[in-house]
Subunit: 209 residues, 2 copies
Amino acid sequence: MQRTQRRRLSPDARRAEILIAARRLFGADGYSAVSTADIAAAAGVARGLINHYFGDKRQLYLEVVRQMMVVPPSVSEQLPPGTPEERLSICVGRWLDVVERNREMWLSAIGPAALGNDPDIDRIMLEADEIATDHILEAALLTGIADGRTKLRAMLRAHSAMLKAASREWLVRGTLTRDDLHVMLTRTVLHLLNTVFPALKGNPPCPES
Amino acid sequence: MQRTQRRRLSPDARRAEILIAARRLFGADGYSAVSTADIAAAAGVARGLINHYFGDKRQLYLEVVRQMMVVPPSVSEQLPPGTPEERLSICVGRWLDVVERNREMWLSAIGPAALGNDPDIDRIMLEADEIATDHILEAALLTGIADGRTKLRAMLRAHSAMLKAASREWLVRGTLTRDDLHVMLTRTVLHLLNTVFPALKGNPPCPES
DNA sequence: CCCCTTATTGACACTTCGCCAATAGGGCAT
DNA sequence: ATGCCCTATTGGCGAAGTGTCAATAAGGGG
């Protein structure tokens, strides 16, 4: 693929083009299987430009992950008044719709590359989960909770890990159906909020919070 | 570190030495941060020998992960007769003991667990979970189930993802205590088995199984 | 004691990555 | 329209990592 002529465009536009190519390749083959040369070729750009804009292969990857982790706010918007059960069920249904609609992007989003204990990835996931858990609490009409909010958030983060694993069972392995997920996720989140969390209130010895 | 003299020992022993060094380094710094040269130096061995025994850096890594994923059978051995609640509670307690005892190894083991794109890692996790879920069913006195066994296994796999995430909350972030985990994990697994699973029996449209 | 199997080594070729000076695209002033 | 200058963009260099392979020596058996 010989470059007929050198295109020169605004930094923002170029950044966006590179990000699109990177998201496609990283999503398809994983982190270490994709070289910066591959991304540069896919974006129609010299390899050095990637370092110029993102500094580092890792930072480019972090940017892709950050972009993928954004949860569409439509999931928890305009919920009709009703019981927490009803509202959470609607939330879960919308979420499953979103996942079903862009399955490949979602699957590649929940599978960060073979980076072991990466604090940067951790931070990104944490910030995303922070927003997601707030939406859940809002849907469950539990925004007033202030006492064990830290523990509650931690539990919901753990639950979102189960959500991701269950989604894999549904989309990849086919061992669970969409309806199975709906029932399972709605019931478990309610069980956590209504039964497990109150049972934890008697365990104060959490150092901070 | 100059090699005074060349040591020659049995392939099994040498394999084991390399595996020990690899486990330590991979566990500490992650996959891509550790070079085969580092491992070779730590094992007091020429770099080429790693390829000779394991073929590939990735295969060596898979071997380490496989070794880490082995669940000590003591967790679900010699359970006293009693209700499923009691037996599962004991199981969870023993498991938390194991995790607490070798926290760094456990953390580095579930680090790449978030990996979604790698079919090899997937297979290893799958086999480990296969055994783990059988132990859970045995502890819950539900070995007789044959109807929706596939769905049950899938749900327990999803639950084990929550277990891993909750363990991170406990050991890394400190947002949950050991007692919190005990209550949460025991209750949720019972809730899955007793309430959610029966509610799924009315959803047969799972293609295979 | 020597020899022969084979565990072990060291060097070579190849790929990838980050860096940097050189190059040219295109908006702006004239 | 035209030339200039800013800077987006390129291509190549050196360092680091990885897999392969023929050469080497360790140590047990005859």
